[in-house]
Symmetry: C2
Subunit: 342 residues, 2 copies
Amino acid sequence: MITIYDIALRAGVSSATVSRVINGRPDVSRKTRAAILAIMDELGYRPNATARGLAMKKSKMIGVFIYDHLHSGLVHPFLQDVLSSFQRIVGDEGYDLLIFTNNSKEVQIENQYELRARQRDVDGILLFGIARDDKQLDRLVECGIPCISIDLDLYGPRAGYVTSDNVAGSTLAVQHLHAKGHRQIAFIADIFNSKPGQDRFKGFQQAMRSLGCTINPNWITQADFSESGGYDAVTKLIASGNMPTAIVCASDSMAIGAKHVLEENGFTIGKDISIVGYDDISALSYIKPGITTIKQNRMEMGRAAAQALLELIDNESAVPPILFIPPDLVMRQSVHDLNEFS
Amino acid sequence: MITIYDIALRAGVSSATVSRVINGRPDVSRKTRAAILAIMDELGYRPNATARGLAMKKSKMIGVFIYDHLHSGLVHPFLQDVLSSFQRIVGDEGYDLLIFTNNSKEVQIENQYELRARQRDVDGILLFGIARDDKQLDRLVECGIPCISIDLDLYGPRAGYVTSDNVAGSTLAVQHLHAKGHRQIAFIADIFNSKPGQDRFKGFQQAMRSLGCTINPNWITQADFSESGGYDAVTKLIASGNMPTAIVCASDSMAIGAKHVLEENGFTIGKDISIVGYDDISALSYIKPGITTIKQNRMEMGRAAAQALLELIDNESAVPPILFIPPDLVMRQSVHDLNEFS
DNA sequence: GTGAAAGCGCTAACAC
DNA sequence: GTGTTAGCGCTTTCAC
């Protein structure tokens, strides 16, 4: 391994001077700087991050905790997109990502987050898919390491979060339907009462009210976010004999299930009945006719999280932000324009 | 920060003894070990990984290079599954993952992989989605850092790879069709000639030959792995007026496209014509009737990569393996059993 | 502008 | 069994 001393020797200077050059300090003469730079280049020198970390107590690494539960229909499918844009932003500032792994052998002691973050000297932390009732969070949040989480409300002196604006999302859905002439709208909610699920329902209610539409309690159902859940929910709706003109689903999977029953019962999607999903999962692009849906702005979430975290790291007195990222309406063919007949 | 000296002081021993305890050395008396352990526990002490890394020249980190190109229909969708099982295995051995970010500001100099790996002192490297014509690979492979890549043939004194056995995959598809009485089988190949694409075609050819089926050149087409590619390819097939009894597609997207044209032309999938896809993308589970496909064993790929890498790290003289992970046949409803009528 | 030297937290001979 | 000490590669005062 080639060190700072090798460079110093070749350049006929001390290691301190080389260090100054590495760190772009101004107090080095043009000549020596140029000479040192040339030698570093020639030898393909790279400062060792570990040694630097020890000396500076900074690692130029962002620690990432991902709670890797399968079947987390909501957050999991987006990890890749969010992380990809996050990585791009922090990468430009010289940070690499340290993904903390779960050691299944080790006892799950408390304060795991804080201890492991300290152990690796990470400069900041990104939390992803962490459950809100996680006991270990408290100490992490209070320990002073800059911290941003995705879709989890995290409050602390140096901790904030970014989330997709789920209220705005279903508002979009309702407004779109309303503009197309729909007034009788059903909603299939999340039976688990997850935060995003709650917010999506909240947005539906608010939007309906502010547009002057009455909410028919019989048209509010709950399902388990899955295809079969949506299938069953709409089965009951059909059995009730009292159909709305449109159905907003809290997830695309449920929308797909809804579509299946409806078609089996002779409804033509986008004509006899309208559907709006939520998430724009990849499967949706393969389904005919296309289902209109609400798409979370995943890239933007990653970008926002990265910038917020960088700000917290760079600026000791930055106030931790709470960021709501507005989603987009993706129009396909599942919404019928009732105005055509008015 | 609480250090080894704090522990030593409290325990009335030297830092060396504490270090011995940390590293589980046998040459410490039961009494002092217990005392030290108790104090470490009480103070919530965690050895600093950076300092350790500097002293031992090992970081207990696996470096991960992911080439994050969008539209890489083949490798990208599996990253999460593969990485998730990889992480679990190496995590149990105390390794965390260091994801190298792409600094868009920095000039893309040569040997980037090696330099960055050295800079961070990673103990081993996982490559994912890296293009095989990447110039920087050569030096990395020769520099002696243990290295395993996914779906990229990497050869070196300490470098091997794991890949899904694509030849075996399409062999599975053909054997299944053959068992169901099919002899006239078409194949939609990858127009880009990617390695997986080539192998899938190769497996098709071999299987057909060894089962004594003749390959009709008119039934071999190429498409761009996409839905529309499959659509167009089968459109031509139909236009030719000479239909096979089954179609094997080198990707699920193409299979879905094929299904669409076929249905539009009055064919009933799984009755008039049979289809087999490849990959088992998530969208497939939403499509009716279900398309039979070949599923890569993603978890197993991650597991195998992890174990191979750990072996290379632990055992100086381990020979770098090349591992083919056999995929599975996922049976749905798109294959017709011709034997029912014989 | 540049150098000498101490120190970051830990490991690993080598002594006793 | 345990302590002493010299690094690991870099940064950073403090002199000059």
